[in-house]
Amino acid sequence: MGDDFVISEIEKDYIKSLLEQKKRIDGREFNQARNVEFELNLVKKAEGSAIVTLGGSKLIVGVKAQLGSPFPDTPDTGVITTSAELSPIASPYFESGPPSNDAIELARVTDRAIRESHCVDLSKLCVIPKKSVWILFIDFYILNHDGNLFDAAVIGAVAALATTKIPKVKMLEDDEVEILEEVEPLKIEHYPISVTSYKIGEYNIIDANFKEERVSEARVTVGFDEKDRIVSLQKGATGVYKPDELLAVIKESLNVSKTLRKELMKALS
């Protein structure tokens, strides 16, 4: 991510020569994701939150819920909105300033996985049709960047949503709504998992770390639901895929998604 970092040619060659021997710099298999860990509900001021680490990549996701008006064309459904900040805290290569294209892509790819999987049933977020619905703000801050923020972001967002508790409301007259102290958990309908595959030379490897990501020419992030359906996909960077190669990569990613989903469900149970 980002064009500003020039990896040394030596390092690039080293990573590639290892791949030729079917090895990765951190000893993983080509199709092996890194360990994922969760710390849930740290931020009490958020309705839901999770710190997720995927190998050395670490981010915090907060979910804030607020009442607001629905979109006029979907008067009886709630709203989800996602933003990401690649804070300079996370890497010497990030700069402060307005959201970079990388941050925008990260937020939008994550949003797509959450939205298209129908992870949350937006119709249940409706309080008064046309007047008042819950808006869920899913905001990420990257704390440490060690590659493949995409999969960390999606799994972190789902984890944060799964910890989210929405206040109950009481109807008053005149379509006024009182927000009560009592809360109830947000129901998660589907658990999308995204798996990103990185292409280096002729090789496709799962869940690149920072150095691998830097030398990769292309990536494909695929979101799967628990029924193994594809719910989102994004090819990133300037490299290309042959059609058959793309299909093979998607199938490999599907397998990895099952492992990651198991880890997520274990953490949430």
Partner: protein, 350 residues
């Protein structure tokens, strides 16, 4: 996708609401060289989409530290005109526009011989004048020929079209309502000469089999579009040559040297050896009306009742999170502070 697959988008005869078959493109026309100042330009019409692509460069990049020491940077700026959608779009660039700019730029980078122009930028401006679903694909198709028009050497042309899922059927080239109410969408950028996928995204819900079918259909569609791109380029240069021979007698029009045919597409495949080499003498208007297969009805005769919603590419009205009483938290501020395009942006889903 906003749709849940319940809206009927295919009739009992297997025809879509605009009369097309499942594997049929919308009418496409491409004009090359529509702008004076740009180094290369093109206008594409694809269904009701109208998009202009302009290329400037290679030229010096500012600030200089962003320049790449070994190759050209390709910068894309995809922008929707405020009047291009049903609801007026905010003039500020949305996150959606930025993302689309980036993926188009990535795709074009894969085919341009960028190493020929180190430390420069090639700027590609894409202005959507009217949107009808699939603007990113139409933009990439247009950008590709505009680069050729600018004389930028390329490994091949990229043709782009979306496949999608409506009523659980895989179809080609989603338009507005299908884009809105269908259950899946896969924009694809494909270079037929190289058999390379340089852009692919997905939203919706697909089985692996559906995805594979969709991919094949889009590749077929892209290959048809590629023929239209080639024809447009041929006609442009034919027209120039015709002009030149006319000018030779009349000296009425100024012949600009930059108008000389310059598309230097080094295609590595045999398939495109039929590159325009002999001048076609007539071709008065370099506009190609490609009508693949039967004439599809471009206008929906009757808006189906069920489909009142705005097109997906229209910018939605931001929800106003006003709280009527006793807010636990203040919600107004949030959404107001939230740059509105961001919310609208999200609402568009892709």
């Amino acid at each position: 996708m906003a749709g849940d697959g319940t809206v009927q988008l295919i009739d009992e005869k297997g025809k879509r609401l605009d009369g097309r078959n499942f594997d049929e493109l919308r009418p496409i026309s491409i004009k090359i060289g529509v702008l004076e100042n740009a180094d290369g330009s093109a206008e594409i019409r694809m269904g009701n989409n109208i998009i202009i692509a302009a290329v400037y460069g290679p030229r010096e990049l500012h600030p200089k530290h962003r320049a790449l020491p070994d190759r050209a940077l390709i910068q894309c700026f995809y922008r929707m005109s405020t009047f291009s959608v049903n609801d007026r779009k905010s003039p500020a660039p949305s996150r959606r526009e930025k993302e689309i700019s980036m993926i188009i730029s990535n795709a074009l980078t894969s085919v341009v011989f960028t190493e020929k122009y180190p430390r420069t930028t090639i700027d590609v401006y894409l202005q959507v004048l009217q949107a009808d679903g699939g603007t990113r694909c139409a933009s990439l198709t247009a950008a590709s020929v505009a680069l050729a028009d600018a004389g930028i050497p390329m490994r091949g042309l990229i043709a782009s079209v979306a496949g999608g899922l409506i009523n659980d059927k895989v179809v080609l080239d989603l338009y507005d309502i299908e884009d809105q109410k269908g259950s899946g969408d896969v924009p694809l950028g494909y270079c037929p000469v190289l058999d390379e996928i340089s852009l692919v995204q997905l939203d919706g819900v697909f089985t692996l089999e559906q995805f594979e079918e969709c991919l094949k259909l889009s590749i077929k569609g892209a290959t048809e579009i590629y023929d239209i791109q080639k024809k447009a380029l041929q006609d442009k240069y034919a027209a120039i040559r015709a002009d030149v021979s006319v000018d030779a007698k009349e000296t009425k029009k100024e012949v600009k040297p930059k108008e000389e045919p310059k598309a230097e597409i080094k295609e590595e495949s045999q398939a495109v050896k039929e590159e325009p080499k002999e001048a076609i003498k007539v071709a008065p208007k370099p506009e190609i009306k490609a009508k693949p297969k039967e004439e599809p009805k471009t206008e929906v005769k009757e808006e189906p009742q069920a489909v009142k919603e705005e097109p997906k590419e229209a910018v939605k009205v931001a929800p106003k999170p006003e709280i009527k009483a006793k807010p636990k938290e203040e919600p107004k501020a949030e959404v107001k502070e939230e740059p509105q395009p961001e919310i609208k942006d999200e609402k568009e889903a892709k």
